[in-house]
């Protein structure tokens, strides 16, 4: 099946090549094959495929990756607006509905 894609040129993902040590963790954890690998370093191959889950940033031991991660979810964003907080689907610890 063809990869589904969402809006283009909005993703906040960035990779600092200076810091990359070539451990490939970002490639391991990315669910959408956003990263490629060449000359002993990772590079961003498919930026528009990124869903900003934040797994790569969290698992980069060198802190070379930054992304504004969060739930890409309308209900979560509306929740956030209503409470003046960050978007949250409110899954855990409350009785309200989950993603």
């Amino acid at each position: 099946m063809k990869q589904l894609t969402y809006l283009k040129n909005v993703v906040t993902l960035e990779l600092d090549l200076q810091k990359c040590n070539g451990c490939k963790m970002c490639i391991t954890v990315c669910p959408h094959e956003v990263f490629g690998f060449s000359e002993k370093k990772a590079f961003i191959k498919n930026k528009d495929q990124c869903m900003e889950c934040g797994a790569c940033e969290k698992n980069c031991p060198e802190g070379a990756i930054s992304v504004r991660s969060g739930v890409g979810c309308v209900a979560g964003i509306i929740n956030g607006i209503m409470r003046g907080s960050e978007p949250s689907c409110d899954c855990s610890g409350t009785k309200s509905d989950c993603c």
Binding site: Y6, L7, V29, R68, C73, I77, D97, C98
Partner: protein, 343 residues
């Protein structure tokens, strides 16, 4: 009471560990169906802690999961025929990916569980296998620093664990990739359908009552005919946004989910126009186009939360324009429909 999936205990250097069946009972299957339809979804949990399947030794692998019972059930079924440990994190009954996004399936909880269940006494290889989608909440290098345990990321789908194990605990690019095929989108539709909850009864009831109003006072006949039509139109809009758009997602034009929903909603409205279901006057017809379009677009946009490829930045951008338009269209449509009662 002891849950049905527990079928014995295994003795370890750190005491007794419950062992679990790798088969689903009829009860498990029935509960799964109910949860897919949202019944009891917010309280479908297993007790966090360490479990065993088969007859694991100190060299057996440890698989980590969430305490949402559906996640746990898929894991134990995938471990059929293997000797393994299952470490269940406390995610308050939420699945791995959502809980990881929220942080409850996270470094802190994993570190706590590794220590609390004295994994270093039970196994001698110092590694845990975490589902790849848990990586959003877990930082492998931090777990290593804090506990000495290595985090190995497994496949996205539990069903591929056996292949993963056979290939030397390495996930292939294919196993790491999240796709969103028709089968998986269909599974999500029941939960989407229950999104409206009691509004699904309340809103039609309100329309029924309002539909009877006219310039002569109140007419039961009008309530039935106009109200019935209103309910059919509303339900069609709901189905367009919650069922048809998710099911046909890749084949509907546009990137924005709201535009996809609008497309499907209006196709149905056009169909209803020809079937003479949309209303008697041109005002009523236009009003229904606005209402059906707004509802379908909003619900389709809401499916971004269930989809596996939409980003926060993208959804924000989409909502900025679409949400106000949906509200305005629905408001104008409702006012228009109400006024036509008196023309």
């Amino acid at each position: 009471m002891k849950p049905g999936f527990i079928n014995g205990t295994i003795t370890t250097p750190n005491g007794e560990v419950p062992s679990v069946s790798t088969k689903w009972s009829r009860q498990d299957v029935w509960s799964t169906i109910k949860v897919r339809w949202s019944f009891g979804r917010n309280n479908y949990q297993v007790r966090p802690g360490l479990y065993a399947t088969g007859s694991p030794y100190s060299t057996s692998k440890v698989y980590v999961t969430a305490n949402f019972k559906l996640s746990f059930d898929h894991l134990r079924r995938a471990l059929d025929g293997m000797n393994a440990w299952i470490l269940v994190l406390d995610t308050k009954g939420v699945n791995v990916w959502c809980a990881a996004g929220k942080g409850t399936f996270g470094t802190r909880e994993l570190v706590y569980r590794i220590r609390a269940h004295k994994l270093d006494k039970i196994i001698d290889h110092q590694a845990v296998i975490v589902p790849q989608l848990g990586a959003t909440g877990i930082s492998a290098h931090e777990v290593k620093t804090q506990t000495g345990f290595k985090v190995i990321y497994g496949p996205v789908r539990a069903a591929e664990i056996k292949t993963f194990a056979d290939s030397g605990y390495k996930a292939t690019p294919e196993m790491r990739n999240v796709k969103f095929p028709l089968r998986e989108r269909i599974k999500l539709i029941p939960v989407e359908l229950t999104y409206g909850k009691y509004y699904l009864l309340l809103v039609p009831a309100v329309f029924f009552i309002l539909a009877g109003l006219n310039s002569h006072g109140y007419s039961i006949d009008a309530a039935w005919s106009n109200g019935g039509r209103a309910v059919i139109n509303l339900m069609a809009a709901y189905v367009a946004g919650c069922v048809l758009t998710p099911a046909f997602l890749p084949w509907i034009p546009f990137k924005r989910f709201s535009l996809k929903g609008l497309t499907v909603g209006w196709l149905i409205a056009i169909l209803f126009l020809f079937l003479n279901l949309l209303g008697s006057s041109i005002f009523e017809k236009i009003s229904w186009f606005l209402i059906v379009g707004a509802i379908s677009a909003f619900l389709a946009m809401n499916f971004t939360g269930s989809s596996t490829f939409t980003s926060l930045s993208g959804v924000r951008k989409e909502m900025k324009l679409s949400l106000p338009l949906q509200i305005i269209a629905a408001a104008i449509g409702l006012i228009g429909w109400f006024i036509t009662r008196f023309i």
